[in-house]
Amino acid sequence: MAGDLVIYQEEYELLESVLRRLRADSNARAIFLIDKNGQQIAAAGELDQFDTTSLASLTAGNVAATDGLAKLIGEREFSVLFHEGQQDHIHISIVGKRAILLVIFDDRSSLGLVRLRVKRASGEMETVFETMASKAAVAEETGETASPFAEITDEDIDALFSE
């Protein structure tokens, strides 16, 4: 389907390495790159400490609601959200057009440091997204579909629900 987000091994590894570096440079607990629709794209850090699927969905909901608020008062978007807790804090920012970067950090880091490192990493990730977009455009042009399900059958799908 046109507009599907397709990610290949090469770009996935690039994004993961940007996230790992960002996590080390910013002293963060964990970093998540999330599609604006609520699906996790990649992550780094203390992942087993968090319910990553729920985090992705709620973060996207949070950004969507905040975007809605921005439009209501005539802003295009609020590019950064920051929530401060007792121990852990979260920094949410938009990367490119369709991704959200979520950084979870505690007092081993600081808002200033996170903000600085996020800025640099975002630039690198945008470059990767551009590569992904041009690959997708080429695939579209050559009529090469991205779907791994070219010959999917009704039986395949029924098997998913067999439990």
Partner: protein, 195 residues
């Protein structure tokens, strides 16, 4: 819009349950949650009011196993049905791959069903999507009640494009998985057709 990850061999799709307030959307998700094995589901999140009405959305991630070597994951969302939550409903439709419309079969909800489908059509088009094109299934819920409209009459007033249509009793689970399976099938087939 689905998310296909070749690195992890994963595919993620988003399904939204739409329909008038109190029609049984949350009940559909709750039943699916209750009947799905621990390893195949994530946490169900309900952003609800004190009185248990959906405020923003319910969310349930389902991991249904593999198709052609790809782990297939469906993210199920419900919208808040009350008319004044329209801005929230619109947000939740963003990036949707398929919609299940849960209609309330009670006589007094005929108007509310029609109005909600009209609202769905309008909100989809704000995202550049057409109800005509997207994977879509229709559910006539609450068939266990006495004051229900006949299936024929409901079909006549609500069916949009001969979409797969199911009778249901969401609280008891009747029809719940049939509806989900129908829309999942349409989504996976749609992926390889391309638009």
């Amino acid at each position: 819009m689905a998310f296909i990850n070749y690195a992890n061999r994963e595919i993620n799709c988003k399904i939204v349950y739409y329909g008038p307030g109190l029609g049984g959307k949350t009940s559909n998700l709750q039943y699916i949650y209750d009947r799905t094995a621990e390893k195949s589901k994530g946490k169900m999140i309900s952003l609800a009011t004190e009185a248990d009405r959906t405020l923003f959305f319910d969310f349930l991630p389902l991991d249904l196993g593999t198709v052609r070597g790809f782990t297939t994951r469906f993210h199920l969302y419900t919208v808040p049905g009350q008319v004044f939550y329209d801005a929230s409903r619109k947000l939740i439709l963003k990036g949707v791959d398929g919609v299940i419309f849960v209609a309330d079969s009670q006589v007094e909800r005929v108007e509310a069903n029609v109005e909600s489908i009209r609202n769905l059509d309008e909100n989809l088009s704000d995202h550049g999507l057409l109800l005509q094109d997207i994977p879509y299934a229709l559910q006539f819920n609450k068939r266990d009640l006495d004051n229900v409209v006949s299936v024929e009459d409901m079909y006549r007033s609500l069916n949009f494009k001969r979409e797969p249509t199911f009778e249901a009793i969401a609280t008891k689970g009747y029809g719940v998985f049939d509806t989900l399976r129908a829309v999942a099938k349409l989504i996976l087939k749609d992926l390889n057709r391309g638009r």
